[in-house]
Amino acid sequence: MATAESSPRPSFPGRGSALGGISPVSVLLVAVAAALLVGCLRSETFAQLTVEGLALGAVYGSLALALVLVYRATRIVNFAQGELAMATTYIAWQLIQWGLSYWEAFFATLGIAFVLGTLLEVVLIRPVLHRSAIAAVIVTVGLFILIDGAVTWIWGGSFKFMPSPFGTKIYHVGGVAIARLYLGMLAVVLVSVVLVWALFRFTKIGLGMRAAALRPAEAALVGIRVDRMLAVGWGLAAVLGAVAGLMAEPSQFLLEPTLMQPILVYAFAAAVLGGLESPAGAVVGGLAIGVSLSLIVQYVPAISSELQLPFAFAVLIVVLLIKPSGLFGRREVRRV
């Protein structure tokens, strides 16, 4: 397959080409934000739904970012990313059952997720990395079923109840009721995303990871342990997935083995909408999917809540057909 990149340098996190200068995409985003703001000022329901949508969208964006990190590092879409996130959410539940407080369990789980993600890359992904794309996809699909089965085997298939870390408090801002839960979700996800961005942007290991993902051979020549960097990338992705799972659980989703399956589809749509290459795009895409689902289900009678997943599917198809590089991705030129 002949691939030539129109821009020789793909955007790094923190050096997003689309963010500098005025591009049509940024104009579009500002316009959408303005429209949302006007809507929020005019209608309380609209404002409430927007906040909810943003919170859920942050969760989708977080998982999408995990997918993007893995894709940038290893050119693999990890179909087991959602299941991994679901498994780590169960681990957090178990830790809480054993008597840890919510936030102790939260941080312990992130650590466990990092180790799990790293191990997976080293043990299972590395051997198929340089074989066909199909082989890698099949391994992650096998992992999907493996994790799904293991979780059901250990914890059973019925719902588990996890206490909400943010309580049930509701703030009233000018007639709009906003649950503390949603603000908390939004804050936790955004803080984790910013931390990951800062890691990539300002630390030596982040620089090493960027180099290893984009120019493996050259990175190895200047002494970067490329293998190790890719494994760390998988570990970080697992951490972001765990954040997504933990934040999804107290909102609309129940802790059960299928917890992350719909979220994975939304995350796919988000990642593709943002351009599968772009970390910033994944987050923006996630927020866009979250808000549009939340609003569409309320205001478009034809699309009821059963059609949320098909809607995400439609977004996926339309983006790939009209603008396969997404909002922030680089264009790939390929002629056949």
């Binding site: 096998g142 089965g149 749509a269 599917f313």
Partner: protein, 310 residues
């Protein structure tokens, strides 16, 4: 495989399959029928993924369409069940071509993403149009079939579809499929119309999945419900194709037996013999196969033949 041994082994398999109903208990016949159903679906997926190089994690969606076709036709018109299978074949062919059209512009991971989303989305549709498609409760076909009927029909269909696949793949069309898989650029340069062959492969493989889905519904007492077609089904098909060996027809029986029998076999194993222990075995097995035996069962056969010749 050279002509004669291939023919002999095919005839041997056919003979064993014909003898099985006389040897097995009713329960085991239903298991053997299950293998036949997966045989058809894995065969279809292999035409697409193995021969044309287009990955699909969404063939469970086509099985769902085929299954609902049978259930709805039988419920509303009491159509002959074999006729509903032909209808499932035709309808799924059309849907396959429709999905294949956007797939023309997608390759590799993007196609995997889209088909995965398809597999998750399609079981939602009966919930939306619940008066026609039965909602969460599903659709009940007007008649049920015996295990023996299912076995006979499933394996007859499998035999017909196997010969059909062999005829398609050995000739001009099959060469075009393989050329598309190996290099799209080279294929176009030799005058192959990519859109035609890619969508054709999608249509054929979806049609196979449709027939399998139709039988799949009959195997569950003619009952089609969204939960039966959960995303795991699609994953199982891809796993079956991987175990069988992509790009070869000779391992399909092994792949189908793996997917069709593993649930029953692993549930009788101690420790993991719970409902979901089997998924652990499933996942672990496929990961091991991919790591240790990249060519699947067909690859193993080929390697053994080389050893025998040396």
């Amino acid at each position: 495989m050279s002509r004669l041994p291939a023919l002999v082994s095919l005839l041997a398999v056919a003979g064993v399959l014909a003898a099985l109903p006389f040897l097995l208990s009713s329960y085991n016949i239903s298991l053997a029928a299950q293998v036949g159903i997966f045989f058809i679906a894995v065969l279809g997926l292999n035409i697409l993924t193995g021969y044309t190089g287009q990955i699909s994690i969404g063939h469970g969606a086509f099985m769902a369409i085929g299954g609902y076709t049978t259930a709805v036709l039988s419920r509303d018109h009491d159509t002959n069940l074999v006729v509903t299978m032909l209808a499932a074949f035709a309808i799924c062919f059309v849907f396959g071509v429709l999905v294949g059209l956007p797939a023309l512009r997608l390759s590799g991971v993007y196609l995997a993403l889209v088909t995965f989303a398809l597999a998750i989305s399609v079981p939602q549709l009966p919930l939306k149009w619940s008066s026609f498609l039965g909602g969460r409760d599903g659709v009940q076909a007007s008649r049920t079939v015996s295990h023996l009927w299912l076995y006979a029909v499933a394996w007859s269909a499998a035999a017909i579809l196997f010969v059909l696949a062999w005829l398609i793949l050995r000739g001009r069309v099959g060469r075009a499929f393989r050329a598309v898989r190996d290099s799209e650029i080279a294929a176009v340069a030799s005058g192959i119309e990519l859109p035609v062959y890619k969508t054709l492969a999608f249509g054929i493989s979806a049609a196979y999945a449709g027939v399998a889905g139709s039988l799949f519904v009959l195997a569950t007492n003619g009952f089609a419900a969204p939960d039966e077609f959960a995303v795991v089904l699609s994953l199982e098909l891809l796993i079956g194709a991987a175990v069988a060996g992509l790009g070869s027809l000779w391992g399909i029986l092994a792949g189908a037996a793996f997917v069709g029998l593993l649930p029953a076999v692993s549930s009788s194993v101690p420790v993991i013999g719970s409902d979901h222990g089997r998924d652990v075995v499933f996942g672990a097995a496929v990961v091991l196969v991919m790591l240790l035996l990249p060519g699947g069962f067909a690859g193993l056969l080929a390697r053994l033949r080389q050893l025998a010749r040396a």
